[in-house]
């Protein structure tokens, strides 16, 4: 059984269909990536899963439970965390508070502390700056914080919306290294990226999204070597 099963998912914004019935599976332990151009519906897919937009049709099943119309806070409680596009850290909260708020639904004080320590081990820069307002961090640090904050919900599935967007190439490398490490630690990852090359390199499975439809799927390396993908998304001719 797949961890997440999306079937014929349709979403419209004011009569305009952003997703026209897409289906895909995310298996336990995998890194799955959705690639595609701007406006293809990548973000909408994640937002629908997270409960931020209500689908017009289709179903989303997580661990055998139907979460299609669930409210965001229930989706989080069921084990799906999201690192939103543009990081969206709470810039008026300290780094430490941003991590604490990730654990908002948890009551186990000792394990919250342990998890915060674990995030600080993963991102030593955050420990150095734990008392600073998150708004004062650099873009890369904010991205780490957004990932750490999502980790604090103890997710089974971590969804990441364009984690490399707007970051320097060196930091982008770090981010993908972190994604692999998180995956190695047993978290299932659903990643959407414009940086198709890097995303496909670390993904087990990839889907290509074009104007609201899935047009291609395959393993990361299959898609990487596919001529159409190369032409459209990898810029190599």
């Amino acid at each position: 059984m797949s961890l997440l099963k999306v079937t014929d998912l349709r979403v419209s914004y004011g009569g305009i269909e952003a997703l026209r019935g897409i289906s895909f599976d995310v298996e336990q332990g995998q890194i799955v990536t959705l690639i595609g151009a701007n406006g293809a519906g990548k973000s909408t897919t994640l937002r629908a899963i997270a409960g931020l937009v209500k689908p017009a049709g289709g179903s989303i099943v997580f661990e055998g439970r139907d979460i299609t119309t669930m409210d965001p806070q229930k989706v989080v409680a069921s084990g799906i965390a999201m690192v939103p596009e543009g990081r969206r850290v709470f810039d008026n909260l300290t780094v430490h508070e941003n991590l604490r708020i990730g654990a908002y639904l948890r009551k186990d004080e000792t394990s919250i502390r342990e998890d915060i320590d674990r995030v600080y081990e993963l991102f030593p820069r955050l420990r150095e700056r734990h008392w600073q307002l998150a708004g004062t961090l650099s873009g890369g640090e904010q991205q780490m914080l957004a990932v750490g904050r999502a980790m604090m919900t103890r997710p089974k599935l971590l969804m990441m919306d364009e984690p490399s967007l707007g970051l320097a190439p060196l930091i982008v490398k770090d981010i993908f290294a972190i994604i692999r490490r998180l995956s190695d630690s047993g978290i299932t990852i659903l990643l959407i990226e414009q940086n198709a090359n890097a995303a496909l390199r670390c993904a087990n499975v990839g889907y290509v999204l074009e104007t609201g439809n899935i047009t291609m799927s395959g393993t990361g390396s299959q898609l990487l070597s596919d001529q159409r993908v190369r032409d459209a998304y990898l810029g190599t001719r």
Partner: protein, 292 residues
């Protein structure tokens, strides 16, 4: 000179404290919803009428807590009925809804009271006369600033150091991401209305103990001044609202002391205009820099 000014100064600090208790409600709601809650002044007036009617029916030590409960409930219901359904509507709609609630409450109060001014009960202790040096005043004058400071400090601690306070700060910045953390934004928003109405209820007891009667429009002026205070201090900032309210309270009373009573209200609004011209974000207003 000082002997002549002192009573006015005391009155100024006291009135300032009462404005502050109202202003915090304006500023907190603005901080979270970016809404000027025009009904807030009427909720303050309603608290006055609750006291009139409750005190007539039961002993004061039962009536006073009940006034607080009823006011809090009113603030909560107003939000649920008039603002919550408009959560994703354009900001203009929710503002018009707020104006509508304001008139609705005012007219309900006209209806219930028959347009007659109602006698506000004499509250024991805080309505008593006391003398400080050359000034004779009510206990409320002295008690108000103390209560205001205590309540505001408690509120700031709540916002800075508790989980719900952290959630309030998060929601004030970003509804969507707050939801992704599992925060129920509707509960957090209700909480701000509950706190704002609670402070308005306390403020109303202190304010009306200086007056003998309550009318449906009596809250309009202090409500408006509290709003000016919130803008003056930098809307969204709680310390700003308190300092703004204190300054307005003191200034308008000092103006009365030097013999320009007619202009004391005009001064408040002139101050608002000057502040908006030279510092649109107010004294402690946050800069709203859009980050990319």
């Amino acid at each position: 000179m000082f002997d002549r000014i002192l009573p006015y100064l005391l009155a100024g600090i006291s009135v300032g404290g009462q404005y502050a208790l109202i202003a915090v409600g304006y500023t907190m709601v603005y901080g979270i919803l970016r809404l000027i809650n025009f009904a807030h002044g009427d909720i303050f007036t309603a608290a006055g009428f609750f006291m009139v009617y409750f005190a007539a029916a039961m002993p004061l030590y039962v009536a006073a807590p009940l006034v607080v409960v009823a006011t809090v409930l009113l603030g909560f219901v107003v939000e649920r009925v008039a603002y919550k359904p408009l959560r994703s509507a354009p900001r203009m709609s929710i503002m018009i809804s707020a104006i509508g609630v304001s008139y609705l409450l005012q007219n309900l109060m006209w209806y219930v009271t028959g347009g007659l001014a109602k006698q506000y009960p004499v509250l024991p202790w805080i309505s008593e006369q006391i003398t400080i040096g050359p000034a004779s005043t009510k206990m409320a004058t002295v008690v108000t600033p103390v209560i205001t400071v205590l309540l505001v400090v408690a509120l700031v601690m709540l916002i800075k150091h508790t989980k719900i306070g952290m959630a309030m700060r998060a929601v004030s910045r970003d509804f969507e991401t707050a939801q992704l953390m599992g925060i129920k934004i509707n509960s957090v928003i209700s909480m701000t209305f509950v706190i704002g109405s609670f402070l308005a209820a306390i403020g109303s007891m202190l304010y009306f103990s200086n007056y003998t009667t309550v009318t449906p429009t009596i809250g309009a002026m202090p409500g408006l001044k509290a709003f000016v205070a919130a803008v003056f201090g930098g809307i969204g900032s709680i310390p700003g609202a308190v300092i703004g309210a204190m300054l307005i309270g003191i200034c308008e009373n000092v103006i009365k002391a030097v013999g320009y009573t007619t202009f004391s209200d005009a001064f408040t609004f002139a101050l608002l205009i000057v502040v908006l011209v030279f510092k649109p974000t107010g004294l402690f207003g946050e800069k709203t820099s859009e980050k990319v």
